[in-house]
Symmetry: C2
Subunit: 222 residues, 2 copies
């Protein structure tokens, strides 16, 4: 493992309690003192700090758009990018089974470790300090993000995914509507070429049910 | 509407900016200056404060159990209970279409208003103050909650729901497994008496896929 002080310089924080940093870097495959509890804490801090930043930066934007922007900023892909900026892969403490894992598993381990680091820095200092650091880590991304851009809805993403694979577009069919006019529940089937069973989506409107089905389809296909 | 000072006494906070309180109480049906942005902010603050409280109260509990306890503490049902303790229904500002709505809609409007109040108090003061208030609001619930109790997993809840309706138990079938040994994706169908199509669940293990299917089934049935 590289010297931890190089990492701490990149993070912008020198730990008072270095054991906390080591714990944040320890994947569960490497032993019982792993980072999953810190990840739980860090995830909630990150969500809050980003929500607060978006709330103040976009005073006119509705909560749906804020929620989509936040999802973009805290998703695994973004966290794994941050991890690579910190060269976090060089510092992770992994068990023998995980050392050689690549691709999806690796992305997820990196992203989780970033959340664990956030939790660890919070415990090592306070909410003000981690907020300040997170705003620095996210500075460029917060400057770049715009409501409605890059936060494509699931149907659009599914369509683009299928187009990229030169497959036919999905078809959506309402198969059930229950409840009275003001409180309806729509069930939609999304049929995709190559997926044997229709993917189910539920929602309070046809549109929401279709988006839900598209989201589940993306879960299956990605 | 009742005098707002009675509500403020119940909440334990007197607003510096009373317009913020009014906004937190205003449902989107009542006009454009509604509480949805505050709700977005408040939701993230609540999640963070509860995560932090659980992290410190349960130093030995794993993140799965913390996550389930948090879900119990921040779910709509719990927030609607808090709303009733504050008699929040008396203060909500609703449009004509929502005034008479009852049941599910009402619960959801009350719960959302509690989140909006959390966001509003945070903006009116700071994170330390809202944390202190939330710990007071949740004092009894945080003292009562225990890992593994009342945080039943989706399969258990689905089973109990069906038993309560005197229906046969659901059956789970693995219909697809893709990927290599270390990185598999399971697709499970959950068949429920009276639900025409199987409900689909996806996960990195059979168990997780079954839980996912049960969760979707609960979404459909509840």
């Amino acid at each position: 493992m590289k010297k931890l002080n190089i990492l701490q310089k990149k993070l912008g924080h020198t730990f008072n309690d270095e054991a906390m940093l080591v714990r944040a870097l320890t994947h569960r495959s490497a032993g019982s003192r792993h980072n999953e509890r810190l990840e739980f804490l860090g995830d909630s801090i990150l969500s809050m700090v980003i929500a607060d930043a978006l709330f103040h930066r976009f005073p006119k934007v509705n909560e749906g758009d804020m929620s989509r922007m936040r999802a973009t900023l805290v998703r695994e892909k973004t966290l794994a990018e941050l991890a690579r900026e910190f060269e976090l892969g060089e510092y992770l403490i992994l068990g023998p089974g995980e050392l050689k894992s690549g691709g999806y598993r690796r992305e997820s381990i990196l992203a989780d470790a970033v959340e664990a680091l956030i939790g660890a820095i919070y415990l090592d200092t306070d909410i003000g300090r981690i907020q300040q650091l997170l705003l620095a880590w996210y500075d460029e991304r917060l400057n770049d993000i715009q409501p409605g851009i890059d936060q494509k809805d699931p149907k659009t993403r599914l369509q683009e995914l299928l187009q990229g694979k030169r497959k036919p577009l999905p078809t959506y069919t309402v198969v059930d509507v229950i409840g009275e006019a003001h409180n309806q529940k729509f069930t939609v089937h999304c049929q995709i070429d190559g997926v044997p069973q229709p993917v189910v989506g539920i929602g309070t409107s046809r549109r929401k049910a279709e988006q839900s089905a598209a989201e589940h389809a993306l879960d299956i296909m990605l």
